[in-house]
């Protein structure tokens, strides 16, 4: 009799527990939806007022309430893409060194070091960037570039230190650990038989890497690079500290620039009007949309490589 009542008491326990866990799990989806809804809602005044002009105009004037985001889009795209172009070969080279070239002890030390450095917060990279790197750029690197390559529009102007170039460098340093560690995972997921077959045919190590390993891992590496791009576009603190925060579009890498996250970081706490806040929200919305797109793409690519190794198929 007693036993039955005990059962009766707990019969609903499972149902209740199931619903509680469902509630918590579903809250992730709710957070995401809430995020998107809030961003759209808050951007509406700016969306309605400026329409497409918002992304084609480069005028950013809080006093006149005229807001165009082109300089920020330009700054984000150029800094991120240049950083990716510089970081990718270095990262892939390092990942290959870790997995296939170095003795396993050395490889794991390098891997651990890279992973530790990925954990350093971006504000600390920014601190180093503004106090150590930009003075060095201003005194050494930029005068050299102006002197030797000043005939190119890329390297014209005065050496300010804080510049697009500084942002590209700091982004490159920051995303290398991320791309390297994901590429390493992808390379490790390539089936061993793939390598052994290449060696069995008499390939040198480089031939094995180029003909057997890299083609197999290509889409996963591309995913890692795209994920790095997402990080670079969303990176806020370090870039804000070294890019110079000037809303202008200049072909010269030595000139100061501005990015989408930086303008939000600098102006959002001190908006002068509702429209100003809304314009910044719209920049946030664009940023959200772009990073969502990039992340979905990268996940699918990485998944297409690593799926094979965890699924039990050879």
């Amino acid at each position: 009799m007693k036993r039955k009542s005990l059962f009766g008491r707990f019969a609903h326990g499972d149902t209740l527990f199931r619903w509680i866990t469902l509630l918590f799990a579903a809250s992730i989806l709710l957070i995401l939806l809430l995020m998107a809804m809030e961003m759209v809602k808050e951007s509406l005044p700016s969306l309605q007022r400026f329409g497409w002009d918002f992304v084609t105009s480069s005028e950013w004037d809080a006093v006149q309430e005229r807001f165009g985001s082109l300089p920020f889009l330009y700054g984000s795209v150029v800094s991120s893409i240049l950083a990716i172009l510089l970081a990718t070969p270095l990262s892939v080279g390092t990942a290959l060194f870790i997995t296939d070239i170095a003795p396993s002890k050395v490889g794991s030390i390098v891997a651990a070091l890279v992973e530790l450095l990925a954990a350093i917060p971006s504000v600390i990279y920014g601190l180093w960037g503004i106090l150590v790197m930009t003075p060095w750029l201003q005194q050494t690197v930029q005068p050299f570039l102006i002197d030797k390559f000043g005939f190119l529009p890329l390297f014209q102007g005065a050496p300010y230190g804080v510049s697009m170039l500084a942002a590209v460098f700091i982004l490159m340093i920051m995303i290398i650990p991320i791309i390297t560690s994901i590429t390493k995972e992808v390379l490790l997921a390539v089936p061993l038989a793939q390598k052994e077959a290449a060696y069995a045919l008499g390939a040198t190590r480089w031939e094995m890497l180029r003909m057997a390993l890299l083609p197999y891992a290509r889409s996963g590496i591309l995913g890692a690079v795209i994920l790095g791009l997402g990080r670079a576009i969303g990176e806020t603190m370090a870039v804000t500290m070294v890019i110079g925060n000037t809303p202008q579009i200049s072909l010269s890498l030595l000139a100061p620039a501005y990015t989408m996250p930086s303008v939000i970081a600098n102006e959002f706490a001190e908006t002068t009007s509702k429209l100003h806040a809304s314009a910044l929200m719209e920049i946030g919305l664009i940023l959200l949309f772009v990073t969502l797109l990039i992340n979905v793409m990268a996940r699918l690519l990485i998944w297409s490589v690593t799926r094979g190794s965890t699924g039990g198929k050879a």
């Binding site: 209740l16 799990a25 917060p121 503004i130 150590v132 390297t180 706490a269 959200l288």
Partner: protein
């Protein structure tokens, strides 16, 4: 034939050299940054750093004690919100999942993890700062929790998946209801793995600056109320770094060193717990 071979091995050697060079090129700036933090930070750390609040400009000395306290408070608050959601959400995915909803939730978590942290700050601002008409530590904690949840959820899920089904079956066969089995057996046996994920999540949010810029805002003084602006170490590092004062730069380096030491300790601890959970 011999010539052909040597050309191939020459290329092999050249490419190997290139990859070694790439690795050195990657490690050099990273090691330089690390050594700089160590050098500049170590010479600026003293007892005042941990016990005093920042001095006004022009005065030497002072510390970041209010930032340390503020960071600790906000991390604790964010964990109170983020841990239950992450862990119990993961329980749903492993114990009751397998349907389309769980795929959507898993995907949402991955997407949420990739969103720039400054956006979580903007959302916390519109949801909490605007209605409450005040920058607050609470809003800061909520924005940090949003960053924490997907990390905790995904790492906990991985750990729960590794708990053998026979363990659950044994408990169920003894007549223990599923919910008690989950709490007392499944979660308990994945404990060290879950701790790893939690430590990594805390390490991640401890250094977050962008979402705090317009939620917690920062504070030059001691702040204890959750509904008021609060200092945090990363915010102080940012503000001091962009200031023109050498004294504040010194504090920023000291703060950076302390933050890095905290990060490394957390990730070493995570590694330790991770290894323990794998050993079993």
């Amino acid at each position: 034939m011999i010539r052909y071979l040597s050309a191939r091995s020459l290329k092999n050697g050249l490419m190997t050299l290139l990859m070694v060079t790439a690795t050195l090129a990657v490690l050099t700036p990273l090691v330089i940054i690390f050594l700089h933090i160590l050098k500049m930070g170590a010479s600026s750390i003293n007892l005042d750093f941990f016990t005093q609040i920042p001095k006004p400009t022009g005065e030497t000395g002072g510390g970041m004690a209010n930032g340390l306290m503020g960071s600790a408070i906000m991390i604790a608050m964010a964990s109170c919100i983020g841990l239950p959601v992450g862990v119990l959400g993961a329980v749903y995915l492993t114990e009751y999942g397998g349907n389309r909803l769980s795929t959507v939730i898993r995907f949402s978590a991955d997407v949420l993890a990739g969103i720039p942290s400054i956006i979580t700050g903007m959302v916390a601002y519109t949801l909490l700062v605007v209605p409450m008409k005040n920058f607050s530590a609470l809003a800061g904690a909520v924005s940090l929790a949003m960053i924490m949840i997907p990390i905790v959820l995904r790492t906990t899920e991985e750990q729960l998946k590794m708990v053998p089904g026979t363990l659950r079956e044994a408990s169920l066969a003894l007549g223990v209801p599923l919910w008690r089995t989950t709490l007392k057996v499944t979660l308990a046996s994945a404990r060290t793995g879950i701790v790893t994920g939690v430590l990594l999540a805390i390490a991640r949010i401890a250094g977050e600056t962008a979402p705090l810029l317009f939620t917690a805002l920062g504070n030059q003084f001691w702040s204890r109320k959750m509904t008021e602006p609060m200092a945090a170490i990363p915010l102080q590092i940012f503000n001091f770094a962009i200031s023109p004062y050498d004294d504040w730069h010194r504090l920023a380096w000291a703060g950076a060193l302390v933050l890095v030491v905290i990060m490394f300790t957390l990730s070493l601890a995570a590694r330790y717990f991770g290894r323990q959970s794998q050993a079993r």
